[in-house]
Amino acid sequence: MEFSRLRKITALAGVASLAIVASGCSGGGNDEPASADNPVNLTVTTFGQFGYDDLYAEYEEQNPGVTIEATNIDGSANARVDAFTKLAAGSGLSDVVAVEEGWLGQIMEVSDQFVDLNDHGAADIKDNWVDWKFEQGTDPDGRVIGYGTDIGPQALCFNQELFEAAGLPTDREEVAELFGGDNATWETYFDLGRQYNETTGKAWYDQSAFVWNSMVNQMDEGYYTADGELNIEGNEAMRAQFDLLAAGTADGLSANQKQFDWGKGKAFVDGSFAVHVCPAWMLGTIKEQLESAGGGAESGWDVADVFPGGSSNWGGAFLSVPESSEHPAEAAKLAAWLTDPEQMVKQSAAANNFPSTLDAQAEIVEAAVPNELFNDAPYGEIFASRAEGVVAQFKGPDDSVIQENVFAPALKILDNGTGTADEAWNEAITLLNDLVVNN
């Protein structure tokens, strides 16, 4: 691809209609190792709950001359827009950029704009990670463009108080058994929901889209086949899951909450719903929501080592170094340090997420620090157990568009009760054709 000059012109086009500020410099620069005599400024952009603040300070202390300027964006969707805008402009990306699994597929299409971490010792530390995580960060040509940070093995969060009120068991191991233990199925999940709804008249889950994401993420092939072909229209397994979810929602199991908003967290304290799909990082999100709504450990949330339909992974991030970085070696060094098992343990403690390196996982399981907010759940042990059997699913270039702009609106039809399963599915297919196929 011939971009250097073209890209600068593109940058100007950006200014034209979309008000992007571009300063138009790329590559090169001084790449001497940082020292007190050769101070280096490294910029880092992360999103959501990353828990890196203390680690930055520690790194600066260990590496005289390095100053870290960190930016944290509120969520993955906005981080994507930020990263893509800067990629399109050809400048402005930080030296280290956090990339979410959901939009990694799009980044892979322009993987040549990211530094091959093999040039900076990626092969030596390859075995740190669970193998599928490392593979996800490797492009088809074998260039490693991202070091994995966390992964999102899914467990099931439930509210003890609400379970008790409905006459369901409250002990997390009994709850795991209730859902079927290792053989937990979505059918059981929805049946329990109906039972709960009959006793209490309340909803079972917060909204349909998260349940749907979890269902799709645990299939061998999701929205794309392993060869990168779209895999939705005529996919009977996917349609069967969709109908299962639609039937549950039609029976009043969805609280029709706004995702990632939940009434500024109020839905987590007022008993709107009793179970929640919980990829490891969701614990951090729930913590934030509870704090915002004035809830806490007394709100009754707990997490059980079980997930309907078996192992599932949702999300997780990578640290990448763009080619436009002026200090690729220093940036790669920082990215490697931040994703080193030792630092990952600290990150996990600060951000309530689950590490993607084996040593860090082992350490967290061993330390067995209870999560106070979740009824002292041994979350290391639970998520290590949930991470077993996770297989990486191929994420295509439009995975996040399909999730957010194709299925989210279709599932909203179900949540609002304004259409049948057929109508919602057809709407999804129409949207798919409009937004992805004929884009």
Binding site: S272, N405, P409, K412
Partner: protein, 383 residues
Amino acid sequence: MESGTLMTTTLNRPAASSPAPAKPTLTFRQRLNVLDMKGSPYLYIAPFFILFALVGLFPLGYTFFVSLFDWHLLKGQGEFVGLRNFQEVLQDRFFWNSLFNTMSIFLLSTIPQLIVATAIAAVLDQNLRGKTFWRMSILLPYIVTPVAVALIFANMFGEQYGLINNILASFGIERILWTNETLPSHIAIATMVNWRWTGYNALILLAAMQAVPRDIYESAAIDGAGAFRRFFSITLPSIRPTMIFVVITATIGGLQIFTEPRLFDPRTAGGTGRQFQTTVLYLWDMAFQRSNFGKAATIAWLLFLIIILFGIVNYLISRRIATTGDGRGPGSGARRRRRGESAAPAVVLPAVGPQPPAPAADPAPESAGSAGTPARTNPRRAR
């Protein structure tokens, strides 16, 4: 302009009266002077035009260039496709949906906004105690950043936990789906826009109202016109030019609305089902969610054409109002009388005024124009 014509006539005069060629007699200094006289004005206005060409004209042209290609946000320029992007966007249901939303929000915001702003301005135009306090107070919403406005209003208009729905529910009224239904979402967004812009427009209209001569009101009052009659027959017609200005700026602003719908539901680009996706928001969605820069540029251009269309319509309407406003229209009686008085000397003056022994070369209309100037400014002042 008029002073310009005056200058050229005085400059031309010696050239026309003395047949001898003037050029060789000019010294370098004189020539510099002439250059200064003729060239400098262009130099003075150049910065604006250079800046405009750089940040206005070039991007406009380049955006059109981009719209002719398959252009991926990340992968860059692709194949040349001619006008295919335009063809596809014009057949795109989401584009028309966004236009409908834009127009709907625009009408829901501009019309009530202007009515309320005029009413507020009329109240502020009265003799109030603490005038400055009231005037500054209505401007307060304008200085609050739209992001903060959107956050607060999005909270108020929340479906399950919002203030407004809570109040409705306490009266036993069913909750309104502020983000999931089209019309309520448009009303919610229009409310944000109105909250922010009503005071600003009221101040501009107030300034226009204050320029209306008080003696007209007095004579109308003596003639027995009540407060409402005076408002509709004197105030409204007098602030017409300002009203047109406010309508035009509101139109341009309304067609480019972005922040409010973007932040009303920050997780989506204008609602899960695009209930309140405006055209600019669709442009953003196209560029940064769907990564199709070519089509985004196309939408930008179509929007540009639509705004131009609106501009022309506005211009035609305002011209019509300006011309018909002279002779017709409610309450122009008082103005007509004044105009008649001042127009009389304008007709008389050129004839009576000492017509200088103008050189034959001097074109008649120009001299009439310059001679008539002092008189002709009179009716303008009266407006």
